[in-house]
């Protein structure tokens, strides 16, 4: 069976390689991909949108609908993950607590719980990754700077190879580091499930809201030029700022959905102990 699989993989790989021979050569100016609409984007995008990065201009402005529904697809993925995996009934199981001053571990059978208000006891995981001092401290120190870098990536989508999707992923990863290095409970305490759900919807809402706002101001849906009526800038710069607003929405949605998917998959939907 393994050999058959290997044979199939090699065959299909060979076929794909054979098919690449028919592609236009790399950077060919006469290829179909670079004849129709691309030259116009390349020539006009800077003067029309004041965005030096053509990819960002195409993604968030010329093809705004496309990106909006991509964001919606990501949102749907998060919702699907939540619907399929999240369990709400508590299971009967053994509980473990750490007594913080002495470091002793308590094992409680059945449903009894030490109230979570007690400062001396900390609930710990049953399949238990022990407290690791070095990893905890280092990730604690790195998280703010990872977040700052993520915000930089979102804010400089116009000038660098960044944007909402990339920045959102890094922002989500910064919370996931907390969940990995400490435990899921720490991460959820810091960025709760409810906020997470609201944020993932809010991201999509910001994107669609900017579009609808343009429509209210009298232009087409997602035509950011209309924003010039309320912003103290010209029509070209209004397009640039519109792209930024949209990118922020994408970033928020991607971050929240990443965290939602991680939490649900890692804890099998129980949200008590992860990874």
């Amino acid at each position: 069976m393994k050999r058959l699989a290997l044979l199939i993989v090699i065959l299909s790989g060979g076929l794909l390689l054979y098919a690449t021979k028919d592609f236009p050569s790399w950077g060919d100016p006469n290829s179909p991909a670079s004849t129709h609409v691309s030259p116009r984007y390349l020539e006009k995008s800077l003067e029309e949108t004041a965005v030096p990065n053509v990819v960002t201009a195409v993604l968030a402005d010329y093809r705004g609908y496309d990106t909006m529904f991509e964001t919606t697809v990501i949102f749907c993925a998060g919702v699907a993950c939540f619907m399929l995996l999240r369990k709400f009934e508590p299971e009967e199981r053994d509980l473990y607590y750490r007594h913080i001053p002495t470091g002793l571990t308590l094992h409680i059978k059945g449903e009894k719980q030490i109230p979570s208000t007690s400062k001396e006891f900390e609930k710990i995981d049953a399949i238990w990754t022990p407290y690791d001092f070095i990893i905890n401290t280092v990730s604690r120190f790195l998280v703010p700077f990872i977040q700052l870098f993520a915000l930089y990536v979102i804010a400089h989508g116009h000038h660098s190879p960044g944007g909402g999707f990339q920045g959102g992923v890094i922002l989500g990863a910064s919370i996931i580091v907390l969940a990995v290095a400490f435990n899921l409970r720490t991460a959820v305490r810091r960025f709760g499930e409810k906020i997470d759900g609201i944020m993932s919807a809010l991201g999509v809402f910001i994107y669609a809201g900017v579009g609808a706002f343009c429509a209210i101001l009298g232009a087409e849906f997602l035509n950011y030029r209309a924003l010039a009526k309320i912003l103290p800038v010209g029509k070209v710069m209004a397009r640039s700022h519109g792209i930024l607003a949209v990118e922020i929405g994408v970033g928020i949605a991607v971050m929240a959905v990443m965290i939602c998917i991680y939490n649900n998959v890692a804890s099998e939907g129980k949200f008590d102990e992860g990874l």
Partner: protein, 176 residues
Amino acid sequence: MIEPASRESSQVKTKWGPFVVTFLTSFGLWLILSGKFDYFHMGLGLISCALVSIFSGDLLFPGGLPEGFLAKAVGFIAYLPWLLYQIFLANLHVLYLSLHPKMLEKINPQVIRFQSRLKSDISMVTFANSITLTPGTITLSVSVDGDFKVHAIDDKSAEGLAGEMEQRVARAFRED
């Protein structure tokens, strides 16, 4: 009548200290990252740094600012050149080992335990990561009260462990 006021002011100080330090550090970092000094991007930077400081200022300093924060930071920076030199020596040693034709006879892996006298989190983590980076040793585990377990690759690096490096870390973080 004077006492409550002074206590309140000290509380305010501990509350705002982490925020201010995180904000300043992250704004310095933003200036390096961004490289655009117009009002628009600086404004975005201010907003981002404020968000980061609000959300994770307490991650950086969980119990408020430590005492003598600036002195410790300066001490840490002064510790770095010596560490770099040690890292260089250590790497030459490991390089020699890994390219030596009779490497299996040269090495003698062993696990060493010792008790450190460092107290604070950050000094112990600095010490542990310095051990990992230098002479043929990697930290296996550290307990909160300073019980170090270290894996050493040969006798020479096992002997030279701790000692000077621990003293220097202690001096850098004002703990001796």
